[in-house]
């Protein structure tokens, strides 16, 4: 037998062929979790018993000559804002502590049907609001590459789980960069697919016109595998695009010769020099591989942060109205329902969630709607139109994923606005509903991972994965990847 498989692709192939048992793969991952989870805190909950039962069922199927599916025996970690039937789902908020969903999210049931084995629920910024996982009610997730630093956010637990090899793959959700930014900070691949390609049924809503589910993995191929597995129409999500699963694995080996790679000439400033250096290296690598670099202008991009931080909180203030102490989660008793709502929400939500509910309520309130929310929706249109023009000239665009590598725990905790600026390169994609992914592309001088963001137009996942795959090949052949 060859070496123990480490990627999801290799694990599934080996388990289906009967050369490796799912339970042995699982135990290897649970062993790493046992050794290092107290130092990382990637998980809110590790479901070891349920995972062992699932892995044993997979092995029994293989023994009986049946195929458990394309993800046979692949351990996977799930962001704790995805509903898992009978298993606590907290959104890292006190207000949902103890809640056990009565149904599975569509992504959860699809993964199980394909033979994947869920190992647990990963930590996040409360209700996915944040860029460092410091807003979790249950403590911060630390970066496996340097535990004095954050793992990013909001899907910090899912990024850290893959970076620490607690699972080969995980799922996160991305509203303004919550998959791509932690992927960049932890040195793994993270993908936000086109809005509507992956069902959000059972994903706890933050900002409904922006939220998308996507994968984390060590290599590009595993993200393609997971995205193929979870994409495709779902009647339970009315924003789901009526089409089949994405076709991605077949394009990974294609070369990028003749592809047009866009460089944004008026990109928002403020990125670290090391980050800009790696971006230049990415352009060089693609040029050397036969691609053409073209200049594009997106003059409205610089207003993305403002549009996002008015639209996302406005939608959040509406979506989070449901946490009122009546049907689920915690309740603070009071003499009447209105006092009960106010006391429950004050006790159950953390500071950042309250801040965004307040900001969103203000932006939607009488007298301010036109000045803030209404205006933000128009700026969203300008950004979307800018992208449409840029994608007339370029197949994909390249930017940094995060303006800075992983920062120290506590460094930005008291300054919400400086935290928001971490999302400046990832936000525009969500406003436009486009796909984008972060690919690890070397380290900073301090040895911290740096990610390059590959962005594409609506349903442009194939060119995006082609370019991501070419960047990965370059890193593997240049031998500088740590």
């Amino acid at each position: 037998m060859s070496a123990t498989p480490s990627t999801a692709f290799e694990i599934a192939a080996a388990v289906r062929a009967g050369s490796v048992r799912a339970i042995d793969v699982l135990e290897a991952h649970l062993g790493r979790i046992a050794a290092r989870e107290t130092d990382i805190h990637a998980f809110n909950l590790v479901t070891a018993d349920e995972a062992r039962a699932a892995a044993t069922r997979i092995d029994d199927m293989v023994a009986a000559g049946r195929d458990p599916g394309p993800l046979a025996g692949v351990p996977i970690a799930l962001k704790d804002n995805m509903c898992t039937r009978g298993v606590p789902t907290t959104c890292s908020s006190r207000i949902l502590e103890g809640w056990k969903p009565p149904y599975d999210a569509t992504v959860v049931s699809r993964l199980a049907e394909m033979g994947a084995v869920s190992v647990g629920k990963t930590n996040l910024d409360e209700f996915a609001m944040g860029s460092s996982t410091e807003n979790s009610a249950f403590g911060v997730t630390l970066n496996p590459r340097d535990t004095s630093r954050v793992a990013g956010g909001s899907s910090g637990g899912s990024a850290a789980a893959v970076a620490a090899a607690f699972a080969p793959v995980s799922l996160g959700s991305d509203t303004g960069g919550s998959i791509r930014q932690p992927a960049a900070l932890c040195g793994v691949v993270g993908v936000k697919p086109t809005y509507g390609t992956v069902s959000r049924y059972g994903l706890v809503a933050f900002a409904s016109s922006l939220d998308q589910i996507g994968p984390f993995s060590v290599d590009v191929r595993d993200s393609a595998l997971i995205l193929e597995s979870i994409s495709g129409h779902d009647a339970l999500d009315s924003t789901s695009i009526p089409q089949g699963p994405l076709d991605l694995l077949s394009v990974l080996d294609h070369d990028v010769k003749g592809m047009r790679i866009g460089r944004i000439t008026d990109m928002p400033e403020g990125a670290d020099p090391d980050v800009l250096g790696r971006l230049e290296a990415a352009f060089d690598a693609l040029r050397a591989a036969g691609a053409t670099i073209v200049d594009v202008e997106l003059p409205s991009l610089k207003y993305g942060l403002t549009a996002y931080y008015l639209i996302a909180p406005a939608e959040a203030s509406s979506n989070l109205a449901r946490y009122d102490g009546v049907r689920y989660g915690c309740r603070v008793d009071a003499v009447d329902t209105n006092s009960m709502y106010m006391a429950t929400r004050a006790a159950g939500f953390g500071d950042e969630v309250k801040r965004r509910i307040m900001l969103g309520t203000y932006a939607l309130s009488a007298g301010y709607y036109d000045a803030y929310y209404g205006k933000a929706l128009k700026v969203r249109r300008l950004i979307s139109d800018d992208f449409a023009r840029a994608y007339g000239k370029a197949d994909v665009l390249l930017t940094p994923t995060s303006p800075i590598p992983a920062f120290k725990v506590g460094e930005k905790a008291d300054d919400p606005l400086s935290m928001y600026l971490c999302d400046v390169y990832t936000i525009p994609t969500n406003l436009a509903g486009h796909p984008a992914m972060s690919v690890p592309f070397g380290d900073s001088r301090d040895g911290l991972p740096i990610g390059v963001q590959v962005m594409a137009s609506t349903l442009g996942e194939q060119p995006m994965f082609k370019v991501a795959s070419a960047l990965e090949r370059h890193m593997n052949s240049s031998g500088v990847r740590s």
């Binding site: 207003y303 102490g325 309520t361 979307s384 509903g433």
Partner: protein, 104 residues
Amino acid sequence: MPDTPSERISAAAVAKVARLARLDVSDDEITRMTGQLAGMLEHFADIDSLDLSDVAPMTQPYPLTNVFREDVVAPSLDRDEVLANAPAAEDGRFRVPPIIGLDG
């Protein structure tokens, strides 16, 4: 309309927004939030000067309209399982404090 930049939001406005959002907030929290929200609104003033009169608002990224399905009977969530998650339940229903209360 927004006030002048240095006074983009007042403590009284923050207290009103907290009531609209059904959040109990202390006086200290109102003071802190007023400063933080004012700082954000100051930053968000970058879009004030844009001429957006001819721009149509964009509410969602993908041009889907209402999605309809056949009205057929299908299983729904189990009532007992749903109520097991409630802070208080009685006779197959959610139990809440009096709706007409001291606050009016």
